[in-house]
Symmetry: C2
Subunit: 516 residues, 2 copies
């Protein structure tokens, strides 16, 4: 079939994996469905301990079988030790054909590429796939295609039962001996455990792995003992230095500052910029600079942010400390300043990823978002965005909350330089659609700003703003004029990954790269 | 069948309602089961409002049908307006045969008795049934037998799917227009919304009714927008004066003070009285007095309470303020001092009723309880307790957390005077078993203390304590000697209510009272 964003999705693939092709953002809205549920074992015996003496014992008590699905979170980011630790023990036990369902994976997980070759790992379902895992996927090493989902899409898939997690492994900075886990305290703070909340509730078995056992009760708990089977202590759950980065890149790049200024004017000049507005920025140089540029305008006009959301960083915490933000609702922490802030400020609040972005619950925070600033590897003339495949066709990115916030926000702004090296960012057709164009409102480049013609209201609002408005085609032409139209990437027919839309339909497929 | 506590449960009844008879506390421990799940309607349209203009509109949008099951909470206690408000509107709509599944019901709900007569209400499933509803039940007015459950048992029943809630109605002191609800703020504070948490997650439709709409987001939310379909504002959700009582009864009754002293000595002399111990007291005069009597002993020995739990009152908050309690985990607030305290103290924490007491999750707080002090209407020589049927055989009580905490606690203490008026408390056979004797460790009366012979360890621990230890038979004989053996209450054969054990098996049945 040709889906709603013009991508050919093989019918056989859809049939085999019980999927539909993407049919537009509103396709499944308001559709009833019955939620999934785990099969659990009760515990009403006060004498039974959940503490195990080793990870091996936890795995044995979970009665592992070939072909199981495992859940993991990525709050430890590039410092995560949990996935490798678990999967290497699984390999030693001779278990095979595991599907890893992680909220995201990164450079920390390069060793998993070997386990793919060895047949221990049969497939990957994740937001991010980078490094050697991305290469393994793009070279067709998985037994079944990878599935790439947004953060909201992963929660949806678990809550609807598309994924049934046999075991969830939750690395936790602190935990008590009965399984109450928190994202703070201990030596490996990650601030929140938002991504794990759905795993804890929907997995049959739940193992918390911690390097800091604390007295009972570790309350308020992010993960409740009511969902936890076993508690396992290890030396280290992650590398504290890589769990968060303290490097806030204050950009001095002239192009980035110019794009930040465009974004700031787009926001301040929009009908949604009024007291109580809501906002998510990313971590890029331009996006971060917007925080600083908006501040004097907010102060001058007496406008406060009602809630800020997303990956939270120092810049947003400082805006709250200055009295300009009423609530920060936090599903992921990006730096140590934000970790300190969530422990000290009662208006900086941990939320679940379902609350953040699940499109199939009864209403997520992204639905209430006024502005989001997002990046892109490519944007095409239909405003479709690619944040996953590189210019060589290899999987090396993560949709994260991109499709979720873009779909929800009243004004979704993509910021990207027109060209990177010799690669045009604005193009005829993105290599892979990871956020559909109907969710994108504004594209800000260093060569001008394009507003999606679906948003005639915004076009009218900025007509006399003095902003350098261009059509997306003009931006593409300019990009191609400078660097030329790149040669197409050569792929084989085999599908190695499916990009799932938020609602579980297939937005695009990624094919095996051709090697000479 | 004759069940594990010697009660005859009609086989036909068990077959009709797919129940089993009670088979002992450990019967279902560690048994696997698949959780229930609601059928929900997704909402990914940022433009769709959840606000309705009236309760009637909320009910219409829920597409009510005859025979539905409704969930309600009892955090507003005797001040609750929600059940009557909803059920009267339901009656006006001509809907019939509703089953009310409330966490508890009380004197506020006398008007429901009329709706039972009229066929609007077909059955009641609740912890507490008192006043005119209790009379209606005991006189056989329901179409189907009432089911009386403990607080933990209700959560279990919903999570296992014994109850499928079609609609949950959640009265909330504050709510935003997207359904984030809290137990604090506004004019009708109830402190926590613990009982409603399971309703929100397992009901197909969820309606929040509030008298205080607050700006979005009302975070941290006790009930999340992700589970809420409609938000309805009304003038008043309850009578603030009756939601909580500020009257802390400091007893001067000599018998109560004597029993409090016995309890205090039992606790302080037990092997579990050490730093970090855990504790639940009830609200009775003797139980409350124990808080005050324990304090100097704790101070002298440097012993702190690790966590206190249960219905929370000023006395426990004051112990925390004095530095003697590390955490208060709160599933119900009993006075306004406790409501203020939970808003101001980060170590006083709202928990769900599943966390509190559900026997079929992976571990509840009651499993970690060292001491609980509980009341009783009757205790028999097998240590079975009745807290539900009065001496006239009429339903007028509530198991509440009684069976849950008794089962979980290392030392479950029942405090009751040996006789009340002309009624013996200690007897051959309780009218109705609501907590099985195997969960009861110590019975404290004003005529002496009986220790369950199952607990030879405790018997040995107190042998030389100087406490007036008696056998339970001696206490019974003493009671009968003073007031005589009462005539048996006359019942008809018809079963009007089933008392469910925590695990869903049938502990006892209540029969229709014989009217002359």
């Amino acid at each position: 079939m040709i889906n709603h964003v013009g991508r050919e999705i093989p019918d056989q693939l859809l049939a085999r994996y019980h999927k539909e092709g993407y049919q537009g953002m509103a396709y499944r809205d308001s559709r009833p469905y019955t939620k999934a549920a785990p099969t659990v074992r009760s515990n009403s015996d006060p004498g039974r301990s959940k503490l195990v003496s080793s990870l091996r014992e936890a795995l044995e008590r979970c009665q592992l079988r070939d072909g199981m699905y495992f859940g993991f979170h990525h709050h430890f980011r590039d410092g995560d030790y949990i996935i490798n630790m678990v999967m290497e023990e699984v390999a030693r036990m001779g278990i095979r054909d595991i599907t890893i369902c992680a909220s995201s994976m990164g450079a920390a997980h390069d060793p998993v590429a070997r386990l793919i070759e060895e047949g221990v790992v049969a497939s990957i379902q994740s937001s991010g796939v980078r490094g050697r895992i991305g290469e393994a996927i793009s070279h067709g090493k998985l037994k079944r295609p990878a599935i790439i989902r947004s953060h909201g899409g992963r929660v949806r898939a678990i809550e609807e039962g598309d994924i049934h997690l046999d075991v969830a492994f939750i690395g936790a900075p602190t935990c008590d001996e009965y399984g109450n886990a928190r994202g703070v305290g201990g030596k490996s703070d990650c601030g929140v455990l938002s991504y794990s909340m759905v795993d804890a509730r929907y997995a049959d078995k739940v193992v918390v792995i911690t390097d800091c056992l604390v007295p009972f009760p570790n309350a308020p708990a992010s993960i409740s003992m009511t969902d936890v089977d076993y508690v396992c202590t290890v030396e280290e759950i992650g590398d504290p230095k890589r769990i968060v980065s303290n490097v806030v890149r204050v950009t001095k790049d002239v192009r980035e500052l110019m794009m930040a200024e465009y974004c700031t004017k787009i926001i301040a000049g929009s009908p949604y910029f009024k007291d109580g507005f809501s906002f998510q920025t990313g971590g890029g140089g331009a996006a971060l600079a917007v925080n600083g540029m908006l501040r004097p305008i907010m102060e001058e006009k007496g406008v406060h942010i009602g809630f800020a959301i997303g990956g939270i960083m120092q810049a947003m915490c400082e805006l709250m400390d200055a009295g300009l933000v009423r609530k920060i609702v936090d599903a992921q922490v990006f730096d140590s300043a934000a970790i300190r802030h969530i422990q000290e400020n009662p208006n900086h609040i941990e939320i679940s990823t379902s609350e953040y972005a699940n499109p199939m619950n009864k209403g997520a925070y992204v639905n209430k978002l006024d502005f989001v600033i997002l990046g892109a590897l490519e944007v095409d003339v239909d405003y479709n965005v690619n944040v996953v495949t590189g210019s060589d066709g290899i999987v090396r990115g993560a949709p994260g909350g991109h499709p979720d916030t873009a779909a929800g926000a009243r004004c979704a702004i993509i910021v990207a330089p027109l060209i990177r090296g010799r690669i045009p960012t604005i193009c005829d057709r993105v290599l892979t659609v990871t956020t559909p164009g109907e969710a994108v409102d504004v594209v800000v480049t260093d060569y001008g700003i394009a507003i999606n013609p679906r948003r005639q209201d915004l076009l009218a609002a900025y007509r006399d703003s003095g902003l350098p408005l261009r059509t997306i085609e003009e931006l593409r032409d300019e990009a191609y004029r400078i660097v030329g139209r790149p040669d197409p990437v050569a792929f084989e027919d085999e599908v190695v990954a499916m990009v799932e839309a938020r609602d579980g339909t297939i937005l695009d497929v990624i094919r095996k790269v051709k090697t000479e």
